[in-house]
């Protein structure tokens, strides 16, 4: 360990990061796994809008969303070598992590009364309304909007409350006043239908 030197990207990786062809998130993540900061910086730029977007949507509070965003990106750095491409794309991996973290934060940080308050102020489909209100310019947003519109009302409500709201399916069942089994089923068949319309890219 005496002769540890500052890590330098290898020649081939340097070559891959210059030039016009944008490296994909998967390629960048492979470099990040070897401690490549330049690759991390590029991956940050690609991934951070999504990580922050999810954290904001679930947590609402911008300061907390920033904290979670930092945590998630540092986790990407820490766990890059553990990423398993067999189980999804790098973006999907990072997005899943961002959502999981946001949801865990919202559940642990919020007291029961906070939740009641949130619940009390929530309309039946808060997240979906917001999705609809947004100026839809980006392809993903259009796709998602179209996908959600293709669901039954109950599927859409269950999926938006669970994913965008960060509520457990047990909470969703109470909020929508339907049996637990119904929420389980709607989350599953709703997602499957979305998968089939969205083509499950990224």
């Amino acid at each position: 360990l005496a002769d540890v030197k500052p890590w330098r990207p290898r020649k081939d990786t340097e070559l891959r990061l210059v030039g016009d062809a944008q490296p994909t998130p998967d390629e960048l993540l492979a470099l990040v796994a070897r401690g490549d900061r330049e690759a991390f910086s590029a991956l940050y730029d690609l991934a951070v809008p999504r990580v922050f977007g999810i954290a904001r949507r679930v947590l609402r509070d911008p300061a907390q969303a920033e904290e979670v965003t930092q945590e998630v990106l540092l986790e990407v750095w820490r766990l890059a070598a553990r990423y398993d491409g067999e189980r999804g794309t790098a973006m999907s991996w990072i997005t899943t992590m961002a959502h999981r973290r946001s949801v865990d934060r919202v559940r642990s940080a919020q007291t029961a009364s906070d939740r009641e308050h949130r619940y009390g102020t929530a309309t039946s489909t808060p997240a979906y309304d917001e999705v609809s209100e947004q100026v839809v310019q980006r392809w993903e947003e259009q796709q998602v909007r179209r996908g959600l519109e293709g669901l039954t009302e109950l599927q859409r409500e269950a999926v938006t409350l669970a994913y965008y709201g960060g509520y457990t399916y047990r909470e969703v069942a109470v909020m929508l006043d339907v049996p637990l089994g119904t929420v389980k089923t709607r989350l599953r068949d709703g997602l499957i239908r979305l998968r089939d319309t969205l083509g499950a890219e990224s």
Partner: protein
Amino acid sequence: VTGDQHLLIGAYATDALDEPERDVFEDHLADCPTCAAELPGLLATAATLGAATETDPPPRLKQDVLARLDSVRQLPPLVQPVQQLSLRRERRSMRMLVSVAAALVILASVGATWSTLRFRDAERQQQEIAVAQQAVARVLAAPDATTLKPLPTEAAWSGARVVMSPSLGKAVLVADGLAEPPHGHTYELWVIDDSSPKPAGTFEPGDDAALSRVVEGSMAGAKVIAVTVEPDGGRPTPSGDPVATFAVPSA
């Protein structure tokens, strides 16, 4: 309870499970090829939902994150997951203990009514039963024993399990509450690899309908274990659709 777990995959993919339920589902995931195969697509779909929220954070955030990289040690890849394996095995063996206990109860009840073996000589029959029970017990107690559930099937078969041990190259069918096959017929096991199905023994549920039956023959290269209804005595090739099908996870 376990049948329910399949349904929870949507709640799992949208992070709508409480932590304890999440753990239970992840255990299920480790043993359920169907769910394991379905999950990546659903996670990717959930990720697409996330993509619709993209929002730029304040630019200063990047400097904060980059400044903190130095204080975070990167984990190595999982090249020698020795510890993980042993942990996993402990968890698995706990679960196996439960299945073994359940199977031993079944074995005890099967005991004298071991209906798949028919011998005139009572003593020899006893011996054969003991040998068969030992073979079953060995598979169930193997450290690498894995429990396979049937692919969706009629209710009577949905509780059936195949417990297999890759290291022993053996598998056991464990079932309870099976209906008798039609008169003049028997159930027949099949081991299916890339070529034609190989007969792996016949059986009938017997009086108390509880059963554990060693799947005969080699499990090498087995992709599927199936059960069909065949005329008494069994057939060299299956004559109809399986009543139960178990997908063998690739090693």
